[in-house]
Subunit: 246 residues, 4 copies
């Protein structure tokens, strides 16, 4: 079954920095979308950006989105509260959500986690080695025991998120830190995979293993059917002995 993916990008650095624009001429969203079309088994990919009306995430777009991949950084606070709430609601209904890199600071992710999502960080470029801590997880499909990103921003522990359902990746950094780089959650019916890599200053989204992980994550996060859920006032199924009430 075709998975309908929307890749969302704030798309700000690409407008403001020549070097980012050169590195990602179709935008980070364009690079991620192209990677998915190449690697994911059966996907239909569209993109959306902050600058579009309703940030491109209208009720209609979200209703037709199975998995939302999200990149954001400097403009997290510019996302309208209503749109963020709409994303959260759709996750509760079953839409997969894959925040990349500083998408961990986005309004939808922070609302879904209920924590600050604080981290340590360092700009400047250093080696990151991403270890597979959970080799049985489908998001690690096809990987070797680790892969390296030759130059990247550092993220370091403690990472203020709830204890995850599964810790798929843990990163080693040249400067001496560690970080839980791939974490799985469920909120309502929706599956969430927070993936650390992907700073705008490096060509990380063209790297094979990164593309592979994002494709795996999209397949993993796609909604499944599940059971009916009825909430609200309910009639009793068994008879109640009302004489026992006070």
């Amino acid at each position: 079954m075709t998975i309908r993916v929307t890749v969302w990008n704030e798309n700000v650095h690409e407008q403001e920095s020549e070097s980012v624009a050169e590195r990602y001429p179709e935008g980070i969203h364009g690079a991620v979308a192209a990677g998915l079309e190449e690697d994911a088994v059966d996907v239909e990919v569209r993109t959306a950006t902050l600058q579009e009306p309703e940030h491109g995430l209208t009720e209609d777009v979200l209703a037709e989105t199975d998995v939302l991949v999200w990149w954001s950084h400097c403009a997290n606070h510019e996302v309208e509260d209503d749109v963020a709430g709409r994303v959260v609601d759709r996750v509760h209904e079953g839409m997969g959500f894959v925040p990349l890199h500083s998408g961990k600071n986005s309004k939808p992710f922070k609302r879904l986690m209920g924590t600050t999502c604080n981290i340590k960080y360092r700009h400047g470029g250093e080696t990151e080695r991403i270890w597979v801590a959970d080799p049985g997880h489908p998001i690690a499909d096809g990987l070797e025991g680790f892969f390296e990103i030759p130059s990247t921003e550092m993220y370091g522990e403690p990472y203020d998120v709830p204890e995850p359902d599964r810790t798929v990746f843990i990163s080693w950094f040249e400067g001496g830190e560690v970080f839980r780089s791939g974490l799985c959650y469920r909120r309502g019916r929706g599956r969430i995979f927070a993936f650390r890599p992907g700073h705008e200053e490096y060509p990380i989204f063209y790297q094979d293993e990164v593309k592979q992980v994002i494709a795996n994550a999209v397949e993993w996060a796609a909604p499944t059917e599940g059971a009916e859920a009825v909430w609200g006032e309910s009639e009793p199924i068994e008879s109640i002995d009302s004489s026992a009430d006070e």
Copy 2:
């Protein structure tokens, strides 16, 4: 070490319903506070209500609160967003949080969970039998295998919360439903225990086992020291080979 507890109550039913006012002449907060003073080992209890300035939850009060016990129902939406945010921030810093009954619909709890917290429910009064599912948990200290609430509102599954850290209690209802009645979470440094019992129409907060569980929960949710956490920009600890950068 003395645990400083604040028992918060919206305190609306007590004003509007004569029967609630008769049942809880000191308010639900007064009954819960009295129970704690009786059962918890070393506590200092104050109360606060919706009607006070800043709902009685000023920066100062929260700074001096180790554990916040919370009862709310019909006025959940009247809690100021800022006050709700302040409570959430304090939980992240380590304050324990014990929402009772429909406190599960309160702004702080929903923000900490990141889900809808939806349930089934039924008014009218029926037997609830609360089973200890996790007899090794300190919140179950001193209980037998189960206890009963003779007449209460029903809450039924599915309960739309994240998978808990521990499921301490599961309820059986006369009308045929089940419910996870005692769930543990951590968010940041703060411990959260969501406890189902406690509808305003029944004298539940005078019941021994209920008082015992709330006292246990307060002791369990009290902050502990932990380690230092430093977030933000960080200098490298190891030397970085900058020649390797692109």
Copy 3:
């Protein structure tokens, strides 16, 4: 991709009790296998029993098994330690494992859990209502909010197992107990789903919802590819400053 299922049954009650033999003329294994062939999307099903050499679970059979469905009860102690160990090893390598009913007392399940797996129980027949606590879970695919087993043995909490990854089902019993009836775990690469229903004295394995759940569980528990895992002695990847060693 075809899922290769082995349905294992101790097959003792069928030999010793006329009424069980009449209820399950092809054995419980035969009934479960027939149900899977009817309901699971793409499966190849074989059966094996205690009485066969190596209980029908030779290295070869297990090597060709993607998911092992297991029913056992009175003969749990008759399973050879070596065969139990072989099952556990295969689960670590990725084989799915679906113990049914008192299969929760089987050697493989207890070794995978590391706990006693103790419960309360009661023979005699009473209504069980199985509630979906996790409507977003694929093992609940296609179900309504609950289903009933009109007459069954009771299992009651506390259930001495590790806190599960997900609680999919919770049962209500007519006699007043509750039970976590559908629990998910992973051990190594293997997925485990412990499903409560299925006493030999009742025609439970012919019931539509039960067949549906077992089919869903088999699909959920099927192995996925994952990443390479290398264990043992390892060469350093980074150069080590040996002058710093004591």
Copy 4:
């Protein structure tokens, strides 16, 4: 309340290697016990070793042990199955269990986990930096954001254990690996904390932070009261409509 601690050590390297004997003249058990007496708030410490009758872990000793700290390495297979089973039983009843370093390969730990507990490793000595991933956890009480072990054996991911209840520490290694160095579990009523540091070739058990963590772990793992647990055949609490049985 005084916590009764037993520190168990296989005590083999100390007999066979002069350098280990010089480093740990009272044995590793002696060093750990001395550290606990210094750092833990209210403990009564005894030691036991492999060479004693029943390895020093008789029914009586275990019955009087609140927390068992365990060091083992080359002689894991020499521990009698019965004694290992007795330790596991006591954990189920509530005894805390703190396996240090290659105690992760001990029979009790492997039985409690239900997995292989496989890792990568490397001898020779290199820097380990242990990061606090969960600064709100009491086992991290009093620590800064990280501490370093100047020279140690490496352990690397993947670590084949069940997803833990909490990940308290994650290690960075000079040679390029990462490891989840402090993991919390519960099995039955017993709390388990697996702590990585402590190779016999290095004076790690004299290091302040290591002593602090072990003292914290002992306090955390001490048994609590909990509720009564009744297992086995049970009378119904509610009346059962036997006419409804088939």
